[in-house]
Subunit: 228 residues, 2 copies
DNA sequence: ACCCTGATACTCGACTTCGAGTAATCGAGT
DNA sequence: ACTCGATTACTCGAAGTCGAGTATCAGGGT
């Protein structure tokens, strides 16, 4: 029974059931009102299959099913001892061990060479605006929480998000500036490459003699045995 | 044909094919040697189904299939005009529009209340060590790239990762300190809650009279109409 | 001559994810 | 009394993800 520990929604289910037995819809409502769906992707399809899978693994058990009138029946689940142990172990792992995260901006940056530099700078400037707006919204939400006397522990996630978004904003601002003023190493090569392609040269033709076409910056692109 | 734009691997495939026609395995090898698999999750199963799906959408086309000896046949794909357009459009979106990212630490923090504060602090201290190691490795990799004369544009992704990891490190360090010295708002409530549960009280019993059990900090947990 | 490791190249099917769809009930207004 | 939107509660199937498995070949060592 190799529990795959992929979907954090399963962890959230365990966490809810460790408070008290609930039926799936009540779990989803609980997560909603506590604002956890900001941090943990929640959709019905996944919820019900995740619950079923936890039950199959013996981490939770169906307690009883009730039905009011002609509504769909509700199955109330409770956490098992194994489930409680899994909750603690999984949560410990999440907190203690950095996982390889694949963010969409990282993917975008790693392929950004496919667009010309000025275009990339323009797009990132758009992003900067959006980031500022999102940060503003997060701050406002934080203020409201504080006014209501909500203790900080209940909002650490969003403070963490704020820290990450701020770092992203700073990085992107710096990157745009360096693309614009040509300080970014390889800028010339990058610009030249797109000029040549716009003139109809193929990638292969350019890479047959990168130094000749793109300049000295491209020397590192040659295979090792012919770099001198 | 609602292209779902979920898996960035599909974008990477388009980016590769926009350089020249390749067969899937060559695409994977290209991404590997360029270090893109650090930023874009790559596994064979996904690669082949993603390629098939791109072909079905008309964004790439099978050019021809070859076979050497008794080896499995290789199908070479080329990008179409629609594919080139999709590449540019998708990449633009990735760069310009922040997407809701669900990181595992955010999930962990949002459920951290399920563990007692001292335990969480201990776990986060473990994470700090791991983060320092990872940052060190990233820096070393960057130095090696620089020594080899690799222009910065080819490593922006990893600089971005470095910026994010640094922000995470700083945030976690600060958080641990505040848990340890009790400066984090709600610390008492959090500690008290776990003491009571260790004594055998249920979550329901505690929440029936939060202020009585947990102190003034818990007033915001009451329903709105009985907060005074 | 033979074996063994590592690279080449893809296949398969079990499992997950997703979100639209269904269907009943409640309550606030007209 | 009625209607309309929100809420409650879950179902379904199409699509996507994953990684172990399969099979071939090249090259180096013994």
């Amino acid at each position: 029974m190799a529990r795959r520990r992929s979907n954090p929604l399963a962890l959230a289910v365990l966490a809810c059931l460790s408070e008290k037995p609930m039926h799936p819809y009540e779990i989803s409502a609980t997560l909603r009102t506590r604002g956890k769906e900001q941090s943990i992707k929640l959709n019905y399809g996944s919820l019900y299959s995740v619950v079923e899978s936890l039950a199959k693994q013996g981490l939770i058990t169906a307690q009883h099913t009730t039905r009011e009138g002609r509504r769909p029946e509700r199955t109330v689940y409770a956490i098992t001892e194994a489930g409680q142990a899994e909750l603690e172990d999984w949560l410990s792992e999440l907190l203690s061990t950095p996982a390889r995260e694949y963010t969409s901006l990282e993917a975008g940056l790693s392929l950004a060479g496919a667009l010309p530099p000025d275009e990339v700078a323009r797009l990132l400037e758009t992003r900067i605006v959006a980031l500022r707006i999102e940060l503003g919204a997060l701050e406002r939400a934080g203020e409201i929480g504080a006014e209501m006397g909500l203790p900080e522990i209940f909002t650490v996630e969003s403070h963490y998000r704020h820290a990450l978004l701020t770092a992203e904003l700073e990085y992107v601002q710096d990157l745009v500036a360096r693309i614009r003023n040509g300080t970014l190493g390889g800028s010339k090569l990058w610009r030249r490459l797109h000029e040549l392609r716009a003139q109809g040269l193929t990638f292969d033709e350019i890479m047959a003699d990168p130094v000749g076409h793109l300049g000295e910056e491209a020397r590192a692109l040659l295979p090792h045995d012919r770099q001198n």
